[in-house]
Symmetry: C2
Amino acid sequence: MATILDVANAAGVSVATVSRAMQPDGPVRASTRELVLAVADRLGYQPNRAARGLVTGRTMNLGLVVPDLLNPFFAAIAKGTQLTARGRDLSVFTVDTDENPADEITAVRSLAKQVDGIVLCSPRIDDASLRRLQEEIQAPIVLVHRRMTGMNSVHASLDEGMQQAFEHLVGLGHEVIAHVGGPRASWLGDRRAAAIRAAAGRTGISVIDLGHVEPQFEGGIRAAESVRSSDATAVIAYNDIVAFGLVSRLAERGYSLPGDLSVIGCDDVSLSAMTNPRLTTIRLPKFDAGRVAVELLLEADHNEPREISLGSELIVRASTAAPRS
Amino acid sequence: MATILDVANAAGVSVATVSRAMQPDGPVRASTRELVLAVADRLGYQPNRAARGLVTGRTMNLGLVVPDLLNPFFAAIAKGTQLTARGRDLSVFTVDTDENPADEITAVRSLAKQVDGIVLCSPRIDDASLRRLQEEIQAPIVLVHRRMTGMNSVHASLDEGMQQAFEHLVGLGHEVIAHVGGPRASWLGDRRAAAIRAAAGRTGISVIDLGHVEPQFEGGIRAAESVRSSDATAVIAYNDIVAFGLVSRLAERGYSLPGDLSVIGCDDVSLSAMTNPRLTTIRLPKFDAGRVAVELLLEADHNEPREISLGSELIVRASTAAPRS
DNA sequence: CTGAAAGCGCTTACAG
DNA sequence: CTGAAAGCGCTTACAG
């Protein structure tokens, strides 16, 4: 709990000099810096960042808001954000809103004063609220996996991955596939639907829309029945977790996968490579999305927001195969 | 970016009065508070917590240090910590050390000044370093899933769960089981080994020690061979992830689970209920561990550290069955 | 290169 | 109940 004054006294200099010595390029005589640093080290002095932030206006803190840390997709983004931030000597406040949209607003508001910027991950709030929030606070925000004109964002383009998925399926001999969608009116959901339409059009595969489910394991369970009663020989699920639910229920119903049905997930969550069968999925940037978000934040120009689009790619594993003829 | 002075001016009172009005039980006339609060609300005033912390000595921030957010076990603990903290109006700095012990020390040090306490989760550093760290900083630390005399901690007792696991196996008709251990010299690992010895002794089951593997999916893959060549009809894995690796490789080798082999994991990570077959596992407190850690931190008495032990329980799912006779 | 002083946004005795 | 003032730990013009 040594303070800058303690160091100054012990070193026989003023606090101003200590302050300068602590800065890599502060104007101090080399020998003075050496002395100060030695004393600081001996006393275990760590500058109080809050006090520093008060005067510099830079807190050296970042805020990270995610809907659910238990969702490995967000955990990966959080990890990317953390590690990148730490590499730049930034601390990060993480808040898990537990999928509660109202909490996103609260979180951003309370974070606003104590951070230099906020990474807002897949916000569930509507466009209007989002825009209002942005105008209300002064800290720059960067959106992850959501886009909004006038705001900084980094998101994934699903197009490449989806196109690859369709080509993969066509190559295997599939002709009709089903799509199990996630929550309605989710930004990512809309993007996904568009990517599917585009890929379907290009490959000539026909797509059966099986409607929307909650983006959880249970959603997949619930969708299994409609998949069974459809003519599809393959199914693309909203995300990996939904795919797991699908696979699980189908297996219980006696399906042998991938022989009886090919399943493709989305996200490439770490567990996708651990299930049985291992899941073929469309990999979305997670760690990288977090990394880029931090970089964007640091060079954010409020007047000229940037939208960064990262790619996606199909990861072929064992849950897809040729259909039974 | 309204400041307390802005509010004071707009309300025609002093900053002291604004400050008091913002505190639930501050000594202000009711009508004054009403006025101030209205003005504050209109201006979107949010007190600067860093400035407040500077004078009160309470930052209203907590630090959370975990080895790996991608590990769903730690993600759950992080979530429990977050949500509990938020319920008490505390913000939490999260740092992911990426399994790097040295970073634990760095993280705790840099956090020390800006938080009221630190939740240190499953630290990988050795006892001596841990103790040194504790003495070096002034902020209270509470250990999660690690115990150290003289420090606050919340950890899980594996005894109940392990006993239940053995009884379950005995009831099914198993007589010899294998144990795949995790990293040597891990605190939790030692506890686990002790719990197994105790349970084995009580139930009369004989245990084959299959050595240590990395606590990852690959560890399970690697252990599969020795499991196959052993006489065990059931296996207890270090954690769920290792169990997944085991199951995966065994399935590839043509094993039908649980008929050919019963598998029990540990942790009850969310994915355990999503795999095929669903994993029987020993549930360890995760969310609750995080919650209790925060509570402990708030009432922490440096002079009289407390050690809280939470229970464990067997969750029977589909990866265990009677052995083929 | 160095120090004295002002000030960042708040809270809290101290007076009234 | 309210205000003026001091002070939390720092940084940064401003002088030297």
